[in-house]
Amino acid sequence: MNSIEIHDLEKTLGSFHLSIPHLEVPEGYITGFIGENGAGKTTTIKLMMNHLFPDQGQISLLGNDSRQKDQHFKAQIGYVGDVAGFTIQATLRQLKEMTRVFYSQWDEALFNQLMSRFELDLRKPFKDLSKGQQKQFSLAMALAHHPRLLLMDEPTTNLDPLIRQDFLDILQMQLEQEGVTVFFSSHITSDLDKIADFILFIHKGQPLLNMQPKDRLLETHRLVKGPAALFTPETRAHLLNVTKSDFGYTALTTQYGETYELLGQEAIYDVPTLEDLFIGYVRGDRQ
């Protein structure tokens, strides 16, 4: 079963146009949604959450039309984003009291456990928390009702590396225990390198590649570093996003076998990171 399904989604906002013809996010996995700022990540999540409405197309969350009148299915969805929408003057206890009554599956023990782990004081107003603590609190609130689907919009942006790692560790631990589906949008690809199962790149409002398992995506690509002398038109035909320097060139390839036949051991073939792939495809798109 798919937790999220998108069909023929179109949305225009001023000069920006989002177009996602087809997307299926499988249940029980972490899907990374990678794009530069302004690529359409937040717009897509806002469409899922009904903050915006599609000009065309359909979004289905946990088998329910996202726009249907009965929104009870949202009790099974958690959200963590850059903006939480909490009343900033309210204490964490007040925010919890405001929210928990909507969820029959609210788990007070889990919430308290997460608050202790994050060392958050329920008596503190939300506005007195650091940016990292605010995200931690949002994560605790989102996980405490045992969601089946977690939508995360740039959750680790503006966090220092230590808090980011802690945030990801707890997220991963909870997900492994409960098999939650996570749709995680970010431009920080290193976070998704660590935890994502599936990857979807988005650029200028359109998916760059079909969504695919991260491991397969990385295995089918190589980052090739070769000497300038070996850069021939024949080699170029197998390469993506070539960056030249005085010493040689760096490029991506999806044709490892053919490239190796041409360049042999004169070149270095590394497994790329998600960032290499994303930059490669975005620059390839520009070229």
Binding site: H51, H72, K74, G85, Q89, A90, Q94, E97, F102
Partner: protein, 212 residues
């Protein structure tokens, strides 16, 4: 807990979290409510301050993100704001009415009929204010609606200035139910509240939250 009650309760929790604002309007309201014949003014100040503050804080905190995560639909959110406003009117009329009664008992100027008429005028004014402010703020945002609300508030304030003590005394000598003016005003405010609801609910359900 019933969804609607939970939403109204959340609005009151939000309001009670604004301690300084609450204290400020509390002092102003109590101060004026204790002065003879200032019930209407104290009620108006409290209603404007608290209701508008609650709506504006929602707007400035991006509360639609929080609402968007809840298992509720837009219609329920819109309706809960009306219930919140009506509960606020009821609460404030009780508080200001009680303070005014205490004050008049102490000063020996107790006039139950004048108090009753003042309370009906206050409720009528409060419903009229809600009828305009609530759908405007929910549909257009607090920044735009502030201008409209301010114009309305100045208008109401100016109108209240015309309702002087002697006039209230004169009205109080007539059984209010025999005098069609007040019931008509009250019915008018109910109608306006219903019209505001009908105007706003469809727009709010279709509203897009574009800003971050």
């Amino acid at each position: 807990m019933n969804t609607m009650i939970a939403l109204v309760k959340a609005d009151f929790i939000k309001l009670f979290s604004l301690k300084k604002t609450l204290l400020l309007f509390g002092i102003i309201t109590m101060g004026f409510a204790l002065l003879p014949q200032m019930l209407l003014f104290s009620f108006a100040v409290a209603l404007y301050g608290l209701l508008y503050t609650a709506l504006a804080y929602d707007d400035s905190n991006g509360a639609y993100y929080w609402y968007g995560t809840l298992p509720v639909n837009r219609r329920q959110i819109f309706q809960s704001k009306y219930l919140f406003a009506l509960a606020m009117i009821l609460l404030l009329i009780l508080i200001t009415g009680l303070l005014s009664t205490l004050s008049s008992l102490v000063t020996g100027n107790a006039s139950p009929e004048a108090l009753l008429i003042s309370m009906i005028i206050a409720v009528t004014g409060g419903m009229t204010f809600t009828a305009i402010t609530l759908p405007l703020t929910l549909c257009l945002g607090s920044a735009k609606s502030r201008i409209y609300a301010l114009i309305l508030y100045i208008g109401c304030f100016a109108a209240m200035g015309q309702v002087d003590h002697a006039w209230l005394e004169a009205i109080s000598r007539i059984p209010w139910f025999a005098f069609p003016f007040l019931p008509l005003l009250f019915l008018g405010s109910c109608l306006l509240l219903a019209l505001g609801y009908v105007w706003g609910i469809g727009r709010y359900c279709r509203k897009e939250f574009k800003a971050e």
